[in-house]
C-alpha cells in the first residue's frame, strides 16, 4: 500500500441551528481512493458533514480543503464532487439516459462524448438495457443504480452517498453493499458514505468515523472500531456488547491490571491508564463469551450464572445468562453438534468464561 494521500481536509467545522449545535469543531481527513464511512445515530451531524462537503450546506466556521484548495466558498454546482441522495432524487420527466447525461450536459462535455460515457456508466451498474425507460418504470434497486451511475459518470474526485441503501430491503441491500464496494475498487474514486447501520459501515469501509452529537467518537478501521472501541458509546453503538462493572485492585505495570469483576479477580489488559480504586467497565462481545457446564473440570476461574433465556437464531444460539449481581450477559455461540455441553436448559447454572485479552476495559461511564 502506498502512503495514503490526503484528498479532503475538514478543519474545525461547526454548525448551529438555533440552540442546537449539530457540529462541534469537527476535524477529519479523508484519503485519496478510500471507502470512508461516517457512522452515527440520527441527528449526530453526519449528514450535515456530507452536505457541507457537497456544498449544499453552509459552514458556520471552519474550512474544507480538497486537494489542498479551499473549496468552502465554491458553490455546489462547481465542486468536482457528486452525491447519491437517499431518496435517489432522479428526474422523473427524463429517461434513464437523460438522467445520467444531465451532469455531462451541464458541464458542457462534447456531444459525441456523452453517449459513450452514459452507456459505459449504465453498463457498469448493469442497466445498459434500461436507458430509454423512465425512472418510475424501475424498481427501487434499479433506481438506486441509476442514481449511482448519474453521479459517477461525471468522474468526480469524491462521491458522497447519503444513506443510499437504507430504502432497499435487506437482501437487496446486502447485494448492493458488495456491488458498491466492487464499483469503488474499479473506479478508484474516493467514496464517502453516510449511514446509521453499523453492519453496513463495517462491511464496506476502509475506515470509519463514529460520530455522536456533532463530535468524533472514534476514527479507525472497522476492525479497530469493533474490537477496540474508544469509549462506551462506540462499544454500544457498534454491535451488541455486554457490560460488566469492575474495579482496579492492582497495577501490574505496562497496562496490565488486576481487576475485580463480579467478586473475582482477573488479570486484564487495558489501553487506558488507571489508578488503584478506579471504577471500570469490562466489555465483552456476545460471541467472545463461552458458556460451559459447571461440572466440567475447570483449570481457570469462571463466573456462575443462570440461563434465563435461549434464542435460536439459526447460525447461532443466543443465551441470556443472569449473574448473581443481577447483570445479564448475552452469549452468542455457533452450533457445534458434537459438543455435548452445548445443550443447556433454562434455569440451569452454567460457567461463563472468555478468552483472556478479548475483553475491553474502559473507564466507568453510566
Amino acid at each position: 500500500m502506498n502512503e495514503p494521500r490526503a484528498l479532503l481536509n475538514l478543519n474545525n467545522l461547526s454548525k448551529t441551528y438555533g440552540a442546537n449545535r449539530v457540529l462541534d469543531n469537527f476535524d477529519l481527513t479523508i484519503f485519496d481512493g478510500e471507502f470512508f464511512t461516517l457512522l452515527g445515530p440520527s441527528g449526530c451531524g453526519k449528514t450535515t458533514v456530507l452536505r457541507m462537503i457537497a456544498g449544499l450546506e453552509d459552514t458556520d466556521t471552519g474550512d474544507i480543503q480538497l486537494d489542498g484548495h479551499n473549496i468552502g466558498q465554491v458553490p455546489a454546482e462547481k465542486r468536482p464532487i457528486n452525491t447519491v441522495f437517499q431518496s435517489y432524487a432522479l428526474f422523473p420527466h427524463m429517461t434513464v439516459f437523460d438522467n445520467v447525461a444531465f451532469g455531462l450536459r451541464m458541464s458542457g462535455v462534447a456531444k459525441e462524448e456523452i453517449a459513450p460515457r452514459v452507456t459505459e456508466a449504465l453498463e457498469m451498474v448493469r442497466l445498459g438495457d434500461f436507458a430509454q425507460r423512465k425512472p418510475a418504470q424501475l424498481s427501487g434497486g434499479q433506481q438506486q443504480r441509476v442514481a449511482i451511475a448519474r453521479a459517477v459518470v461525471n468522474r468526480p474526485k469524491l462521491l458522497l452517498l447519503d444513506e443510499s441503501l437504507s430504502a432497499l430491503d435487506y437482501k437487496l441491500r446486502q447485494q448492493m453493499q458488495i456491488e458498491l464496494k466492487r464499483l469503488q475498487r474499479k473506479l478508484g474514486i474516493t467514496f464517502v458514505y453516510v449511514t446509521h447501520d453499523q453492519e453496513e459501515a463495517l462491511s464496506m469501509s476502509d475506515r470509519v468515523v463514529v460520530m455522536n452529537k456533532g463530535k468524533v467518537q472514534q476514527l479507525g478501521t472497522p476492525r479497530e472500531i469493533y474490537e477496540q472501541p474508544a469509549n462506551l458509546f462506540v462499544a454500544k453503538f457498534i454491535g451488541e456488547i455486554n457490560q460488566l462493572d469492575g474495579e482496579i485492585v492492582e497495577i501490574d505495570g505496562n497496562h496490565e491490571y488486576e481487576v475485580r469483576v463480579e467478586g473475582l479477580k482477573w488479570r486484564l489488559h487495558a489501553e487506558h491508564n488507571f489508578k488503584v480504586g478506579d471504577k471500570v467497565n469490562v466489555l465483552l462481545r456476545p460471541e467472545d463469551v463461552r458458556v460451559e457446564y459447571i461440572d466440567d473440570p475447570h483449570p481457570d476461574q469462571y463466573l456462575v450464572g443462570e440461563v434465563v433465556e435461549r434464542n435460536y437464531k439459526g447460525k447461532t444460539l443466543d443465551s441470556l445468562i443472569r449473574l448473581p449481581s443481577g447483570i445479564e450477559v448475552i452469549a452468542s455461540e455457533f452450533f457445534d453438534e458434537d459438543d455435548p455441553s452445548f445443550d443447556y436448559s433454562l434455569n440451569q447454572k452454567v460457567a461463563i468464561k472468555w478468552v483472556p485479552g478479548w475483553e475491553v476495559v474502559l473507564p466507568h461511564e453510566v
Binding site: L56, E77, N82, A89, L90, F91, H93, G103, M106, N154
Partner: protein, 255 residues
C-alpha cells in the same frame, strides 16, 4: 327502494341546476323568436351573430384581452409559485396567505379598488386597464395551481441538479418548468376562461371605446333576451367547458 330514491334525488338536483342552461342551449337552435314554443331547428341565430359586426368586434376584443391577460398572469404566477416554493424570504407566509385572500375577495371590491387605482394613476380606461384588471384576478389561480404541483415533487431533485452542475437558470428551464408544465397550462386555461366571461371587473375598468363580449351581451339583454344572445352564450359555454375539462385532465395526468 333506497338506491332509486338516491338516484332520483340526485337527478332532480342536477335537473334544477342545469335546466336553465339547457333551455338556453335548446333555444339557441329554436327557429321561433320567443322561445316559448319549438319552431324547428335552425342555425340562423349563429349566422346572425357571425354577421353582426358590432358583436364580432366585441368577441375579438374579448379573445385578445383573455389571451393577453391569461398569458401574462401565467408567466407572473408561475414565477411567483416557484419563488414561494423554492426560496425562504421574509414575509413569505404573509404573501402566500395574501394569494388566498385575493382569490376570496368579492369581485365588486376588486373592481372598485382597481378603478380607484386607475383613476389615481391616470390610466385611461380601455384595453390596458382591462388587461391589468384581468391579470389581477387570474393571478392567484395560476399561483395555486403551479404551487400545489411543485409541492408534490421531491425537492431533493433540485439539490441533485445543483450537485450535477446545473446553474439556477438551468434548474428552472430543465427541471422545474418541465415538471410544472401541466399545471402551468392548466393555469393558463383557467385564467383564459375566467377572463373571457368576466363581467363585474370588466364593467368597472373598461372604457366606452373598447367593447367586450360579456358586456355587450349584458347591454343587449337589458332590452330583452334575443335568440342571438342564446347563441353567443352557447358558444361561450362550450368554449369554457372544453377549456376547464382540458385543464382538469392536464392536472390529473400522473406525475
Amino acid at each position: 327502494m333506497a338506491p332509486i330514491f338516491r338516484v332520483g334525488f340526485t337527478g332532480l338536483i342536477l335537473f334544477l341546476i342545469y335546466i336553465p342552461i339547457l333551455v338556453l342551449v335548446v333555444n339557441s337552435f329554436n327557429a321561433s323568436k320567443y322561445g316559448i314554443k319549438w319552431g324547428g331547428f335552425t342555425f340562423k341565430w349563429y349566422e346572425k351573430f357571425w354577421n353582426n359586426d358590432g358583436l364580432m368586434t366585441a368577441a375579438l376584443n374579448s379573445l385578445t384581452v383573455s389571451i393577453v391577460a391569461a398569458s401574462v398572469a401565467t408567466v407572473i404566477g408561475t414565477l411567483a409559485a416557484v419563488a414561494l416554493h423554492r426560496y425562504q424570504f421574509k414575509g413569505k407566509a404573509l404573501l402566500s396567505s395574501m394569494v388566498f385572500v385575493s382569490m376570496l375577495t368579492p369581485e365588486i371590491v376588486m373592481a372598485i379598488s382597481l378603478l380607484i387605482v386607475f383613476m389615481a394613476l391616470g390610466i385611461k380606461l380601455g384595453f390596458i386597464s382591462l388587461v391589468i384588471g384581468h391579470i389581477t384576478f387570474c393571478l392567484p389561480f395560476v399561483i395555486v395551481a403551479v404551487y400545489s404541483r411543485l409541492k408534490g415533487f421531491d425537492m431533493k431533485m433540485l439539490e441533485a441538479a445543483r450537485d450535477l452542475g446545473a446553474s439556477e437558470s438551468s434548474i428552472f428551464w430543465k427541471i422545474i418548468l418541465p415538471l410544472a408544465l401541466p399545471a402551468v397550462a392548466s393555469g393558463w386555461l383557467l385564467s383564459f376562461t375566467l377572463s373571457l366571461d368576466d363581467v363585474i371587473v370588466s364593467a368597472f375598468v373598461t372604457g366606452p371605446g373598447y367593447e367586450i363580449l360579456p358586456l355587450k351581451v349584458y347591454s343587449m339583454v337589458r332590452v330583452g333576451v334575443s335568440p342571438e344572445v342564446n347563441a353567443i352564450s352557447t358558444i361561450l359555454l362550450v368554449v369554457s367547458l372544453v377549456l376547464v375539462v382540458i385543464s382538469q385532465l392536464l392536472l390529473r395526468e400522473d406525475k
